[in-house]
């Protein structure tokens, strides 16, 4: 019922944000703060790993969209790692598959961020 946020730097210029838990109306502010902090520090290429996320709702999607809008102002990218069929379905239904890159592994998402 909570969310854990773990940020890792990589050799390239992107950061990996690993989320674990449930992203809902209660926990999404924590995700928003974590993304905001990175972007404030000038990190504009983000890989967000959703592999350990069991649940995401519209407020969580809103936070991801908000992050994407901010990094795009700086020519940045948000690429997602997600294989959970239920969560991929949410991105499908809402059409967000078209605005995020969604990959099966961190490696693939990082390559797309270059």
């Amino acid at each position: 019922m909570d969310i854990k946020v773990n940020v890792r730097e990589t050799d390239g210029d992107c950061n990996i944000v690993e989320l674990a838990g449930e992203i809902d109306v209660y926990t999404s502010p924590k995700v928003k703060d974590a993304l905001g902090e990175l972007i404030d520090r000038g990190v504009y290429n983000l890989v967000i790993d959703l592999e350990k996320v069991r649940y995401i709702d519209s407020t969580g999607l809103g936070v991801l969209i908000g992050g994407l809008k901010r990094v795009r102002e700086h020519g940045g990218t948000v690429n997602l790692v997600c294989t959970n069929p239920q969560i991929k379905k949410i991105f499908d239904i809402t059409g967000l598959v078209k605005i995020f890159g969604i990959y099966d592994s961190e490696d693939a998402a990082m390559k797309a961020s270059v």
């Binding site: 809902d24 209660y26 649940y55 709702d57 519209s58 809103g62 936070v63 809008k69 239904i93 809402t94």
Partner: protein, 143 residues
């Protein structure tokens, strides 16, 4: 209230009231998932109902309304789950402060209701001037 969409002869009712606060939405979500699981919905359908009910609770929290509870009524029969989500008040309790303004910089208006409509088979808003908005949604069991 008539139970449109469910069979009144066999319907079983589970009722839940949670504080109208973000931290309690997960309780509603898990309770409704348990109900859907008891009814033998598939795992995918259970996730659909869970998300739809959570979105309805999120809307109830974010609406400009001073009620202090969310009232969730689940009516189950052999073929349907019907969930009604409404704002409510603990009788006699002072109305809570109105919710903080939604401070999402990106407020994707309609995404919640869009998801509810996509995930459930039937969705209706019942607007009661006195009692506020009731969101009624039905998921059908594959037969």
């Amino acid at each position: 209230m008539t139970v449109s969409g469910t069979d009144p002869a066999t319907v079983e009712t589970v009722e839940l009231r949670i504080p109208r606060k973000a931290e309690w939405v997960a309780v509603a979500r898990l309770a409704v998932a348990a109900i859907a699981s008891r009814m033998h919905f598939t795992i995918e359908e259970i996730e659909d109902v869970k998300l739809a009910v959570a979105e309805a609770c999120t809307n109830a929290i974010q609406s400009a309304d001073a009620s202090n509870q969310i009232h969730i009524v689940c009516e189950a029969d052999h073929a349907h789950l019907r969930v009604t989500v409404a704002n409510a008040n603990i009788e006699g309790a002072p109305a809570g402060a109105p919710p903080a303004p939604v401070e999402d910089d990106v407020r994707v208006d309609g995404l919640g209701v869009f998801l509810i409509r996509s995930l459930m088979d039937d969705v209706e808003y019942e607007v009661h001037p006195e009692r506020g908005t009731h969101l009624v949604m039905i998921k059908r069991l594959a037969s």
